[in-house]
């Protein structure tokens, strides 16, 4: 187990180095730089441009810039955003908590709904319920979420007027900064309950949009995993021992069926980030996805290179944890 861990960690290092190189190089291959964007249509004399570029360290040769980036990153300094003059780490934590809040709520929704539906479909295999659920889940799985988000807005915000169209919170409520999760921070506000309601109503549609594909995946995965478990011998034994059907299913069946489901959920980190880019664009959710897309448009080099590095690290770590958990659960794999 320990050797396996070491081996996997050793693999992570070149990957991370590669990521720093790629994120650094790719963004600089795009024509146009942050200075030009600041000036816009106006244009400026070459001297002013040169002066502005040197102010942001963009006049140094690229290998030097890369060296500075990696060197500072190793020291824990992720640089300063060109567009806001704030430390990237500060911006990241602000944005990341927003995405995390959205992602976690979306996943909770997906699990709370997907898991029981999957179990039920497995138990009632080949029934009408099973078929319709499987069809619906495949539709959910095929959903272009950028469209789905718009449809949700069209129905619930524009037509019914139940939810706000976008954003994270009504600005009338001045929520103090505490954890970065608005659902928690509102309780420190003077108008806790209305602020909480505002936060929930802003969160619900994006969470549904983002949660749809995970929900469909979880439902399908639970069903097939449950079907496999239901066919196992120990299930029959348990039934024979006289335990009730429900008890058998939930106590013995589900517990064993959960292992692959949890793996799938763990591997969703990447999906969530990609989904977040689109969801946040549609709902103007001030999270990591929107932050990175905006930064690409504005050529905010420090934000992009450090932001991608952080996101990639998180995805790698989550995947590693899932792998480790999996290896731990299946000793046979450890040798490989």
């Amino acid at each position: 187990m320990f050797r396996y861990l070491l081996k996997r960690l050793a693999e992570v290092i070149p990957t991370l180095i590669g990521i720093t190189l790629i994120s650094f190089a790719l963004i600089r291959l795009i024509p146009g730089d942050p200075v030009l964007l600041m000036i816009g249509e106006r244009g400026a004399s070459p001297e002013v441009l040169a002066e502005m570029r040197s102010a942001y360290g963009l006049d140094k040769p690229l290998p030097v810039q890369y060296g500075v980036f990696v060197g500072n990153a190793l020291k824990g300094d992720l640089g300063t955003s060109i567009t806001s003059s704030r430390p990237v780490s500060e911006e990241f934590s602000e944005r990341f908590t927003a995405t995390l809040e959205l992602g976690v709520v979306a996943l909770i929704l997906a699990i709370l709904i997907g898991l029981p539906l999957g179990v039920l479909a497995a138990v009632k295999r080949n029934s009408l319920f099973d078929y319709s659920l499987m069809t619906t889940s495949l539709i959910g799985y095929s959903m272009p979420i950028f469209w789905w988000g718009l449809i949700l807005i069209l129905i619930f915000s524009v037509q019914l007027g139940w939810t706000p169209v976008a954003g994270r919170m009504d600005v009338m409520y001045d929520v103090p900064h505490w954890t970065g999760f608005y659902l928690l921070d509102v309780w420190k506000s003077t108008e806790a309950w209305p602020a909480f309601k505002s936060a929930v109503s802003h969160l619900i549609l994006p969470a549904i949009a983002l949660g749809t594909i995970p929900l469909a995946t979880i439902a399908r995965m639970t069903r097939s995993s449950m079907l496999e478990v239901l066919g196992e011998d120990y299930m029959r034994t348990a039934r024979a021992k006289g335990l009730s059907r429900t008890r058998v299913i939930f106590l013995h069946g589900l517990r064993n069926a959960l292992v692959p489901v949890i793996t799938v959920i763990g591997l969703m980190a990447g999906t969530i980030v990609t989904g977040a880019v689109l969801t946040e664009t549609i709902f103007s959710w001030p999270g990591i996805g929107l932050w990175l897309v905006d930064s690409v448009r504005q050529r905010d080099y420090p934000v992009i290179q450090s932001g991608i590095l952080l996101i990639a690290t998180i995805i790698i770590v989550v995947n590693l944890l899932v792998d480790l958990a999996y290896a731990w659960a299946n000793p046979r794999l450890r040798g490989k």
Binding site: T15, I19, S23, L26, I153, G289, I308, I316
Partner: protein
């Protein structure tokens, strides 16, 4: 050639006739399992329908998709107030027929899906074969590169690639193709690792089969089943991601009728002309659903473990 001559006889120990009947039988068996699966057949029908629409677009579409009809901006569909049978799905903000654009959009999307799959499948399969068969440091390098690609948020990578290459459909295909490659590489590599230790491959090698023959004649055909499945699913990924890029304003050049781009242009009219938002998205959903159903059906029919 000489190598081949030496190698023809031994393995697998079937005559050509047997192989043919074997293949036929396999195909028959495959079709049996496939046609049992209603979803899969449904998927096939959907896909076939859209392929047909794509091919016959000029015959089916009432108008040129880029033709601007003066004076009929954002006209509602035929069944709505102010709609007319001349434009059954209405017109967009520039006055173009939405129905014709949707039909031509099928052409774009199917083409895009196809190109993404060809691009990523060919590169992915080659890299997978290389990594799996050669192993050693080649394997390490390829797999680390794939790890890097997979750790980068895919849509962001696609956005950056399109922004570098310039905004048009071909570049969108390349960007999305790059993002999809790792799936193929990992899949093929895993298959190769299994196959290359099979008896017939080892035996063939001991009879002096060169690496080229080993890889492309002995191993590759036996990896094809999962690759075909992944390829089918790659269609839906490709269509979805190119549409997403279009939605973010990084897709086809105007005035090309591409569904994602149409959706993006229609965002401003979500209240005043909701059909402009609804219809292109619905098309994307149905096509993607079709390929997913088809892919699932193929997997079930090709995967021997599930044939119980």
């Amino acid at each position: 050639m000489a190598v081949q001559a030496v190698n023809t006889p031994p393995l697998p120990p079937t005559t050509e006739a047997q192989a043919a009947t074997g293949f036929k039988a396999e195909l028959k068996e495959f079709w049996y399992f496939f046609s049992q699966n209603r979803g899969a057949v449904g998927g096939l029908v959907i896909v076939a329908l859209f392929v047909l629409v794509a091919i016959l677009a000029p015959l089916l579409a009432p108008y040129d998709p880029t033709l601007i009809h003066e004076g009929v901006f954002t006209q509602g569909p035929a069944w709505s107030m102010g709609g007319s049978m001349k434009h059954i799905f209405g017109t967009d903000d520039v006055g173009r027929d939405v129905f014709s654009r949707l039909i031509y959009g099928a052409r774009i999307s199917m083409g895009v899906g196809f190109m993404v799959v060809v691009f990523s499948l060919s590169i992915g399969t080659l890299l997978g074969l290389l990594a799996g068969y050669v192993g050693g440091w080649v394997d390490t390098v390829v797999m680390r590169a794939m790890d890097i690609l997979m750790a980068l948020p895919s849509i962001l990578l696609a956005i950056v690639v399109v922004t570098i290459l310039g905004q048009n459909l071909v570049n969108a295909v390349i960007a999305v193709g790059i993002v999809v490659i790792p799936g193929f590489v990992r899949l093929v590599r895993a298959q190769v690792m299994i196959e290359k230790n099979r008896q017939y491959v080892v035996a063939s090698g001991s009879f002096g089969a060169g690496p080229f023959r080993q890889v492309f004649v002995n191993i590759l055909p036996n990896c094809m089943a999962p690759v075909i499945v992944q390829g089918t699913l790659g269609f839906s990924d490709g269509i979805l991601n190119v549409a997403a890029l279009g939605f973010l304003g990084l897709g086809a050049k105007p005035p090309t009728a591409e569904w994602g781009t149409m959706l993006s242009d229609a965002r401003a009219f979500i209240e005043s002309a909701p059909w402009l938002v609804t219809l292109p998205g619905l098309c994307i959903l149905i096509v993607v659903l079709g390929f997913n159903l088809l892919g699932d059906g193929l997997r079930d029919a090709l995967d021997p473990r599930l044939k119980k």
